[in-house]
């Protein structure tokens, strides 16, 4: 079966589960949690930067989704709706923690590659580039990181990001601009400068 067929089948199954859960079927909602929790946790971790906060954000996100499922109109995908709730919960959590925590990612990122076989573009990017991007992301201030994670990894629109983070669309765009510039500096310019310095050291003195 082609990857697109699998995706369509999964999407149909999710749609059925969402409809059943909205009609009050608790087991259908549990099934939705089982299907989406790892993804939700990944987003929560990328936004908050540590396992403890990511767990709390996940818990809160599913509680809000459970309470608000009747209001979910189905005009967006369920996962997108869940990302929005997760982003909103993470924003609240970060606001609560800001005074007490160091701003960079504290916990080590351990990653599971989901479907390497169906992502030729992703596969073609070198592992070292991904590592460099992960590190640069982790070093971003949370406000910049949230916007670039939601836009460039999870493909949410500027309007949705602004709404969930409680900022204006223009502020979201400014943060994204700054975040991408900093990532470009960290990922490419620094490594290129280091590469040049390395070449200079290796070059024999004339």
């Amino acid at each position: 079966m082609a990857a697109t067929d699998v995706a369509r089948l999964e999407s149909n199954e999710m749609g059925t589960l969402v409809a059943e859960a909205r009609d009050g079927d608790r087991s259908a909602f549990d099934a939705l949690v089982r299907r989406t929790w790892a993804d939700t946790y990944s987003l929560a971790f990328r936004l908050t930067g540590n396992a403890e906060d990511a767990r709390d954000v996940c818990q809160e996100a599913y509680l809000r989704a459970f309470r608000g499922l009747r209001r979910f109109r189905g005009d967006a995908r369920f996962t997108t709706w869940l990302y929005r709730i997760t982003a909103n919960c993470a924003s609240t959590q970060l606001g609560r923690r800001r005074r007490h925590r160091h701003e960079e990612l504290d916990d080590e990122l351990e990653l599971n590659d989901l479907s390497p076989g169906v992502d030729p573009v992703g596969r073609s990017e070198s592992a070292s580039l991904r590592d460099a991007v992960q590190k640069a992301l982790a070093a971003l201030p949370p406000k910049l990181r949230a916007v670039v994670v939601l836009r460039d990894i999870y493909d949410l629109s500027h309007e949705v990001i602004a709404a969930e983070l409680g900022i204006s669309v223009s502020a979201a765009k400014v943060r994204l601009h700054r975040a991408r510039h900093r990532l470009r500096d960290d990922v490419f310019l620094r490594s290129e400068a280091e590469g040049r310095a390395h070449d200079d050291v290796d070059r024999p003195a004339v």
């Binding site: 949690v33 929790w37 990944s42 767990r55 459970f66 309470r67 991904r130």
Partner: protein
Amino acid sequence: MTMSTVLPCDRLAELMPDLLDDPSLLTAADSGHIAQCLRCQAEMARFRRLRRTLASLRLQQVAADPGLVDDLLEGLDSAAERRERHRIAGRRAASIVGLAAATAAGVGGVLVLATRRRSA
């Protein structure tokens, strides 16, 4: 007096992050410049690679404690129980208020009747 002019490369470098979302920001003159400028081409390639790499992270899940899903479901159970308790308590309170209102109305009725009889 010296005139400060912003070179196209510097102006375009500042524009590059936004071009990823909105390529229409480029004018025909900008496109013409990029087609001939290796520096701008390299800069654009960096941003595109960055965007592609970020998008590829979507397929990588952060490893989580496998027990988390059970905790999440337990949390939902507790929330559902609390909601049910609230619902029952709300109903109970509503019936008590209803009963009290009915009693008050009954007592009021009896008093009105007694007053009418006495005055008759």
